[in-house]
Amino acid sequence: MPSIVKPPVAHPSLTRNELGLTIRDYEGAMSTLCAGCGHDSITAAIVRALWEMSTPPHRVAKLSGIGCSSKTPAYFVSAAHGFNSAHGRMPPIATGANAANRELTYVGVSGDGDSLSIGLGHLCHAMRRNVNMLYIIENNGVYGLTKGQFSASSDVGSKSKKGEANVMSPIDPVLLGLSLGATFVARSFSGDKGQLVPILMAGLAHRGFAMVDVISPCVTFNDHEGSTKSYLYTRQHLLHATETDFVPDAREIVAEIAPTGGTNITMHDGSVLRFTRLPEDYDVTDRQKAFSYLKQHPHEVVTGIFFADESVPEMHETNHTPATALVDLPYAKLCPGAAQLQQLQNEFR
């Protein structure tokens, strides 16, 4: 866990991934969040997912906005460049960064204030553009850094620490994503690492915008009785709608995949997302069914991957950019030169 100081040398018995790296190579600075914060568990899951995926640490770009959630990129993958931007503005920063260099792995970390209030518009448009990135909303239903105000994801009737009940209906990022055409929509719980890690891996493998809403209780301002984002409430109301395995190397399971293949999604990089449990009459490629299912379970915290579509072109594909990064194009390829300028100016006479 990144919330305790560790010795600088990794223990030789630690398992190594395909790159020969241990999980320690994916960790970051020590967390300064409150002890027991759900966000720290998510950080650990991100570390685990990137390690499992054998993503080269320095090829990760980690970005965030402002808030407790947005501090966390400092706590994972020290070898990666991080960008702690302004409140709500991470999606455009990530969009521009991705535009310049499509070859990096983009991990955006945001919160419910960041994504559902001040940056809601940006989130919607990043979904529209299908920017190729993993976008995590660490959702605790409260403004932590400013000490306990309701957020846009607070449920009606959920009580603040001072006992005040929220009266406005919440914005649900999952329903939002489904209705706006997001190509990968999932929800998990920070306390459910077994489910969260494969979801994050699938999100990383997804070609396009992978939005994962993670319920992440705030131990200081939103973990009391009457809150609907507390550890207790979430555990009591948790419903695994879908259960998945993520298989990074497809070859291992080719034999296992049923010929119908209805519950397996082959990701763009060849990995396979295998649904081990799906509700009856549920189709992860059918936006409408996912929407209906969620609407039919208003009193549960429904988790799992709800929808995934690998066929939608991501931002670079719709813009016909080269397969390699724009930043790697040599200047000679970008400047038309003096002769062209001469010729062009005949049209301005």
């Binding site: 640490p57 320095h58 090829r59 770009a61 970005l63 990129p73 400092a74 020290s78 070898a79 990666a80 460049h81 991080g82 960008f83 702690n84 931007s85 302004a86 503005r89 999606p91 455009p92 920063i93 990530a94 969009t95 521009g96 960064a97 991705n98 535009a99 310049a100 260099n101 070859e103 990096l104 518009g121 940006h122 919607c124 448009h125 553009r129 931002m315 670079h316 813009n319 016909h320 950019t321 080269p322 724009l326 930043v327 194009l329 200047y331 390829k333 970008l334 400047c335 038309p336 030169g337 003096a338 062209q340 300028l341 062009l344 100016q345 301005f348 006479r349």
Partner: protein, 611 residues
């Protein structure tokens, strides 16, 4: 009236959305091709159809092409503005009107000559579709002007051929309409008028281009690969042009790949965010916008300043505050850009005066942004950006290499014990940066929160101050690298005139007239902020200086007072901010009350404010 060759001004009053723009452009381009110095100013409304719009053409053999303010010929085609338009005709001048309807008696002036041509009537008789009748009325008007002003018919025929040659129907209609107008006026009035055109060779290899197009070309030549923007008047055509040039020069035809990515953002907050994200990753990236966009971008501009990320912002200024007058020109964003965002910030500003400089300084913006790892504002305005200017041919040197600033490669990083983001080398105020994805050793955490020279979070006063003081030094250091002022001295001058950007042509004309009248003044046009020593030296060398600019508050003057040691008493404002481009007459009329040697000029347009 004595005959005047290649020295007159005309104004065309129309209703917008009626297709007058193409006829106006045709006349302007024809005069340019005749080798005669000319300018065309489009004074248009923020509207698609139905409001008044004017187009002014000034022809001047000596090259003075700033606005004239009084007109030898008024083409009065808009009844809504008729009363005002009639007043603007010079005494002894002419007014062309559509005689399909009778001329209203109370609008007649004794000292103006009236030319009535039944344009609507002729077009109704000769064209059948209603839209065509409206459009061709403008072309028939152009036909009248060809005769009245002696515009070269072959040049016009060539332009029509180039424009409509491939569209047979349109080609024929245009030719027919031109003939209708020309034949009628030739048969009924003495042509040409006493003031008219004659072919000359003053334009050499100059080109006719608007500033937004030139800026876009500059961005292409600078190697910009990512552009993010939100549509806004008057900068939209800059991004349109960038797209057009990219489709032409940046498409790999065999692979079908586009070596650029243009993002139409959800708002300006996002547009600047995208630019910053792309620049952080090592791309040359820019946005084009106007004042309202700068207001929204303030938040992340402060971020880019503090986190030291390059960004190029093209601000085509329009009239503020708030929505203001979106289709009118002003230089009202100088202070807003100089100190954009909360906290202590100072930015680099460049001020082109014409499209040729737009091209050069657009390229320079990227070099400066990367060299100093900071936002750079290219401040043009609606007049420069959207009007066609006769401008020197754009030049490109193929030996140009982008100045990417100090960026450490993986090898560079191997050679140093440890990388710290904000530790400058060799006494410079700029610290080397690293790009994501290159090397684990170069990784750091970019943040807008307080940080120390190592790049770590800090709330310790000394550590914060060390970084902030270096940023100030960095801004000062940039003064030695930005384009210096253009200074022109005259013998015996005790007073100076300072100006900026698109005021150039009008102020130069005024300075020439002043010298002729026996009041020589030295001229300085500022091209960048931070100010270099020559700016301060110019002010120090004069008894006092006028500062001519297009805003209410004297923003350039304020910046000079704040950022040089010049005493404020030495700087006197001449301010023109009604939204139309500057004329030499504005400047002369502002100076006249306090200098007996300077004569006032009569004009209808509101005079400049002098403080």
């Amino acid at each position: 009236m004595l005959s005047r060759i290649n020295d007159f001004a005309i104004k065309l009053a129309n209703v917008n959305g009626s297709g007058s723009a193409s006829a106006n452009g045709l006349i302007m381009q024809a005069i340019f091709r005749m080798g005669v110095p000319v300018s065309g100013k489009n004074l248009f409304p923020s509207n698609i159809q139905g409001l008044p719009t004017w187009y002014e053409i000034r022809v001047n053999k000596d090259g003075y092409t700033a606005r004239a303010l009084d007109y030898d010929l008024m083409v009065a085609m808009n009844a809504q503005t008729y009363a005002r338009d009639v007043k603007e005709v010079r005494s002894g001048g002419y007014l062309l009107y559509d005689s399909s309807w009778p001329l209203e008696k109370d609008l007649v002036r004794d000292d103006v000559n009236y030319i009535g041509v039944p344009l609507a009537h002729m077009c109704n008789e000769n064209f059948h579709e209603s839209r065509e009748r409206v459009l061709m009325k403008n072309i028939a008007t152009a036909g009248v002007l060809i005769e009245l002003l002696n515009i070269d018919r072959d040049v016009v025929a060539q332009l029509i051929e180039q424009k409509y040659g491939r569209k047979k129907g349109l080609h024929e209609s245009n030719r027919k309409a031109l003939r209708l107008g020309a034949d009628h006026v030739r048969a009924n009035f003495p042509c040409p008028l006493p003031f008219h055109l004659q072919t000359m060779n003053a334009n050499g290899d100059k080109i006719l281009i608007d500033g937004n197009t030139a800026v876009a070309l500059g961005c292409v030549y600078a190697g910009a690969t990512v552009a993010a923007w939100y549509p806004i008047t008057p900068s939209t055509s800059a991004m349109d042009a960038f797209k057009m040039f990219c489709e032409r020069f940046r498409k790999d035809k065999t692979a079908g790949e586009q070596n650029y990515l243009i993002l139409q953002a959800e708002d300006e907050l996002a547009a600047i965010g995208m630019v910053i994200g792309a620049s952080w990753n090592g791309a040359r990236a820019f946005t084009s916008t106007a004042g309202p966009g700068i207001s929204l971008m303030n938040e992340l501009l402060g971020f880019a300043y503090f986190a030291e990320i390059p960004a190029v912002i093209i601000d085509v200024q329009r009239v503020g505050p708030s929505t203001g007058m979106p289709t009118r020109t002003q230089q009202g964003d100088i202070l807003e850009c100089a100190y954009a965002s909360h906290g202590d910030t100072k930015h680099i500003l460049l001020f082109p005066a014409n499209p040729a400089e737009c091209f050069d300084l657009a390229v320079k913006s990227f070099d400066l942004a990367e060299q100093f790892q900071t936002p750079v504002f290219l401040l043009t305005d609606l007049d420069i950006g959207m009007n066609d200017w006769v401008t020197p041919k754009l030049e490109w040197d193929d030996s140009y290499h982008p100045n990417r600033g100090r960026v450490l490669s993986a090898e560079d990083l191997e050679a140093i014990p440890r990388f710290y983001r904000f530790m400058p080398e060799n006494g410079s105020a700029v610290a080397p940066r690293t790009l994501p994805g290159v090397s684990a050793k170069g990784s750091y955490f970019t943040r807008g929160s307080g940080h120390n020279k190592y790049g770590g979070y800090t709330e310790i006063p000394d550590e914060y101050r060390e970084v902030m003081d270096r940023l100030l030094r960095k801004h000062k250091e940039a003064a030695g690298f930005v384009p210096g002022p253009i200074v022109e001295k005259r013998k015996g001058a005790r007073v100076g005139i300072i100006t900026v950007g698109g005021c150039d042509a009008a102020v130069r004309e005024a300075v020439d007239i002043l010298a002729e009248q026996g009041t020589p003044m030295d001229y300085m046009r500022i091209r960048a902020f931070p100010f270099d020593h020559p700016v301060e030296a110019f002010i120090a060398a004069h008894e006092y200086c006028y500062v001519v600019e297009q805003n209410r508050d004297g923003q350039l003057r304020s910046l000079l007072i704040l950022e040089t040691s010049a005493p404020k008493e030495k700087l006197r404002s001449i301010l023109v901010y009604g939204g139309f481009p500057l004329s030499a007459k504005h400047v002369l009329n502002a100076i006249a009350p306090e200098m007996k040697t300077v004569k006032t000029v009569e004009t209808e347009e509101l005079d400049a404010i002098h403080r």
